[in-house]
């Protein structure tokens, strides 16, 4: 937990990766597709990377929270059900979503009213605690891509200890960033927040195409990918949006899990109503109609919305509570006990 003294200290900057020096002392940051070209002293659109003396620096070798939570909360439903994740978060995000529930952390650097709340990260201590708790390490709540240096430092210590690294990400990463991190990642849950560029840009301030490309690149690199879509008014909750998102995902892989997330009125969208359960139910139907085999709603539709069912015989192979797992009937390789149909995931 951060103290008032830590907050007064403010960010500590250190060299970052994926900076390309250019003419006149400028540096281009190739971490995210914003590809900010930074003059001396200039801070990027994210608010947590800057050019100092022709060197790209980051302030995200830092954590604001360290929480031990169930893996179902990330959410991951096809990754080691019932396990726990030591979840850390640094400051900042490459998006500026108007509905963000975590805005008091994620919008540091973009919203002047959000203070610095982090303290220097200790990768060895994070890994030690994950080993002690038999937990994976998750980077969530804010955009983990912005803390790619910290992620690699943690992974290098975690991998020999058998600890897996997981991200909850907006997926707004360059090819170079994906290449830099993919070999260290076990699984990623990526938000797909809209069906088209205009809607995605309006909601997040960033493009959709790089997100879809990152999903494919990460999958190609062997990283397990699940997708979440929040039903934000004016975006994914509008007629036709979910069907197009579902079709896009099904074209990538119909076995990729899709989580439909209830919108909560917060930050700059407090005048909207929360998502009605019937819209989540309709969204689930839309997903299955598009060909997706695993479509989930965490709370609003009860146990049926959280269950993993075999697409071949209908057997419930993983039964879940709210943010927990009740039972896993799959064998170690992920086969259905009823018909031996393989259910994809990282089950062990």
């Amino acid at each position: 937990m951060t103290t008032a003294a830590d907050q007064r200290t403010g960010p500590r900057w250190q060299p970052g990766v994926l900076g390309v020096p250019g003419a006149g002392g400028k540096v281009t940051c190739l971490l995210c597709p914003h590809a900010c070209v930074l003059a001396e002293g200039q801070v990027g659109a994210c608010g947590v990377r800057r050019n100092r003396g022709g060197v790209l620096e980051t302030s995200t070798h830092a954590v604001t929270v360290v929480h031990l939570t169930n893996i179902e909360r990330k959410p991951f439903y096809h990754v080691r059900p019932g396990s726990r994740v030591l979840t850390i978060a640094g400051p900042g995000c490459t998006f500026r979503c108007r509905y963000c529930i975590n805005y008091s952390l994620s919008q540091y650097g973009q919203d002047d009213e959000v203070p610095w709340r982090a303290q220097a990260a200790d990768p060895a201590e994070i890994v030690r605690r994950a080993v002690e708790e038999d937990a994976g390490i998750g980077m969530s709540y804010t955009e983990p891509g912005l803390a790619i240096e910290l992620a690699v430092d943690i992974a290098r210590l975690a991998e020999p200890a058998g600890v897996k690294l997981l991200w909850k990400s907006n997926g707004f990463l360059t090819r170079k960033a994906v290449k830099h991190i993919a070999g260290h990642l076990h699984a990623v849950n990526i938000d797909v927040k809209a069906a088209d560029e205009e809607a995605h840009q309006r909601l997040t301030g960033a493009g959709l195409a790089p997100v879809l490309r990152a999903i494919e690149l990460l999958r190609d690199a062997g990283v397990w990918v699940e997708v979440s879509t929040p039903l934000v008014p004016g975006t994914a909750s509008e007629p036709g949006q979910l069907a197009r998102i579902a079709s896009t995902l099904a074209a990538i892989d119909p076995a990729m899990p899709w989580h439909l997330v209830r919108f909560t009125p917060e930050y700059r969208m407090r005048d909207c109503a929360p998502t009605a359960p019937r819209l989540l139910e309709e969204g689930r139907r839309i997903g299955f109609t598009a060909g997706l085999r695993y479509v989930y709603v965490e709370r609003a539709l009860g146990e049926q919305g959280r269950a993993t069912c075999c697409p071949a015989c209908g057997t419930t192979v993983v039964a879940r509570g709210v943010w927990s797992t009740h039972s896993v009937l799959l064998d170690d390789e992920g086969h259905c006990p009823g018909c031996a149909h393989p259910i994809p995931g990282r089950w062990k």
Partner: protein, 78 residues
């Protein structure tokens, strides 16, 4: 979200691993505008704890800050 006894100089909010739910999913449909707020007030060894749940986090935070001066504890999404 919860709020506890006042602690001079403490941060305005603290992020915690978990806060119990006071609203069940089958209640969502009864409150389409999200105007449900539920509170549980307990006397603890260190003072009075107010636990809250709401469909609109900002409404709940306003209530908690009005009834007690301590830092607000809240969960994060994801």
């Amino acid at each position: 979200m919860t709020t506890a006894a006042a602690d001079r100089g403490a941060p305005d909010r603290v992020y915690v691993d978990e806060v119990p739910d006071l609203i069940e999913p089958d209640e969502y449909g009864d409150h389409p505008e999200g105007d449900l707020v539920r509170l549980r007030i307990s006397v603890t060894e260190t003072g009075v704890e107010v636990l809250g749940d709401a469909l609109r986090p900002a409404t709940l935070e306003a209530v908690l800050r009005a009834v007690a001066p301590g830092p607000v504890e809240q969960m994060l999404c994801g």
